[in-house]
């Protein structure tokens, strides 16, 4: 999952270490999240969002392809 953590952190002028300290996690965690090697849990994602004052979906970008509206509609009809 892509995210804007590095961008937001840089905009606030924080080092990875300072951000890690504020979140109570390791610097390696921050690095792994920023480089997309690790997707944080919901509680950590919420802490990050709260720290930067942004909604989660503005920080973490869901790249999963969504079904087209017509396909989604036909799936709904089939279920009902």
């Amino acid at each position: 999952m892509k995210n804007r953590l590095a961008e937001l952190r840089a905009a606030q002028g924080f080092t990875q270490g300072a951000l890690a300290e504020a979140l109570g996690v390791s610097r390696q965690s921050v690095n792994a999240i920023e480089t997309g090697r690790y997707d944080p849990s919901l509680p950590l994602a919420f802490r990050i969002a709260r720290l930067f004052g942004e909604p989660i979906e503005e920080i973490f970008i869901d790249e999963t392809p969504r079904p087209s509206p017509s396909r989604a509609r036909s799936n709904t009809n089939r279920r009902s």
Partner: protein
Amino acid sequence: MPDVPRPAVTYREANRRYLRAFVPVMIVYVALCFAGVLLLDRLSAPPLSAPPLWLRTLVALASAAPIGLVFVLLWRYLAETDEYTRVRKTTELAAAGMLTACFATAWGFLELYDVVPSLWTFLLGPAFASWLLLSLWRLVSERHRV
């Protein structure tokens, strides 16, 4: 930077707690290993006969106890550390455990068919620790890369 609720035990605190307990336990382990050998040697020196079975059992179990305690500490560390470290450590422990089990099984069959000599099962602990050290080396090299 605004304050956000932090975990009850932060990554730093978990590391500190683990090391603070791990170092004394390992010192006790080394001391017990040497003390056990010395005690049993002294008690079996002529004209004395071999030490009783209960004493040998007690010395053996007492020497192994700190290793059990290390795993308890490791379990606590996994519960307290941050989620990314937990995932990595758990993966490393699982890999080390699987490699040790594979090695023991392969060696067991080789031993069964008289290809290799009998292995001292005592060596499986250090083998497990070696696989863990290899993971640690990977961790350190990765840390220098980032």
